[in-house]
Symmetry: C2
Amino acid sequence: MTTVALAEPKPYHHGDLRRALLMAAEAVLEREGPSALSLRAVAREAGVSPAAPYHHFKDKNELLNAVAMEGFAQLKQAMAAAIDRASAEEKRSSIGVAYVEFAQANPHLYRVMYDCARNGEALPENTDEADSAYELVKETITAAAGDQLSELDLELTCIASWCAAHGLAEMCNFAKFKPLKDLMGGERAFLQGVLDHLGVMSRIKTELR
Amino acid sequence: MTTVALAEPKPYHHGDLRRALLMAAEAVLEREGPSALSLRAVAREAGVSPAAPYHHFKDKNELLNAVAMEGFAQLKQAMAAAIDRASAEEKRSSIGVAYVEFAQANPHLYRVMYDCARNGEALPENTDEADSAYELVKETITAAAGDQLSELDLELTCIASWCAAHGLAEMCNFAKFKPLKDLMGGERAFLQGVLDHLGVMSRIKTELR
DNA sequence: GCACGGAACTGAACGCTGTCAAGATGATCT
DNA sequence: AGATCATCTTGACAGCGTTCAGTTCCGTGC
């Protein structure tokens, strides 16, 4: 199912190759995984020559960054939908599960997203969408507990939540967790269980003092 | 500063090329980063032909896995040292900081470690060292709070701690956190602050109920 | 209605990569 | 000494990212 008209005699100028390349990239990514996501493969998928993408992206890296931004936009959307679905008191909890489940549903995309994010120092603009998704988390946490936390505590709590979610997203598919998941009755219970235990240590520390 | 004898007339048989390749890989990794870590570059660094590594590793991937296992061994060592240094009540806290600081001190190695770990489904043996490091965390948490937690809670707490540490390790160098770090008076304060806030949300949730 | 400037695209080329088959080398065992 | 066998080299292959000279076509000014 290609996205561009096939009947026409393949016009020399593509119309919107930039968008077509992004969709081709996501198609290749989903079908063959990150290791097969070469510039040439994307160009092939879009039906253009290997050099064509260079008129729309400086680099392979710049293409990947665009894919990553698209991914962060989707992630934000998934989290927003989860918030809408959840009852007031479950909003904060459901956003974490939604985050991890998005990563599980789009493992290849998620990988590209963070490969780009880690290299992001050199590319100041590439985190716009990531920022926007982060803000969504911040709003949710503020709504749940904003009046109980200082500005600094709020920020640190958001960062801690995001880090925990990211860590879980990257590791939740490790084979070693399989038996535990079965024991707990499924993926979602496992995810919720881990997220619920983030505070256990600090609570114990508090009690001990 | 090559690691193998230079004076000798370059013996055809290398002696211990496997180890030499691992050291060469870590050297290349430190000097030029993960993107430059090609099989050929490693062979070049070790002073052998591009095909030589294939007598010691099935794949490029298998070489990277070996590097990753070495990295997990070093990580375990770093955490163990931190535990030894810390007072009894700070052991659990210091292990998290040690984890993240190891990742910051060896960013390239840490990246290879988790790139391998994520692909690990196909390679059953490659997590031995990671397992061993995980066990160290489990022992520490058990020592701190074992009697207060069920077996399941203990396991979930360990996983949650590891996930949070991993997430922080991957994200703590994001440029957006720079101002906050300065405000808090340095890297270590920031790390400790984030780790200390992991439990904030669950504590608030508890209070609200 | 038409030339022309410039953007979009192609095709061929460069050096790099991972991998493999065939041959050279030298340590080891009998 | 001779045979064996793992080890290492040489040379080759396809595929990669990237560049560059040329081709095609769209939009604009006349």
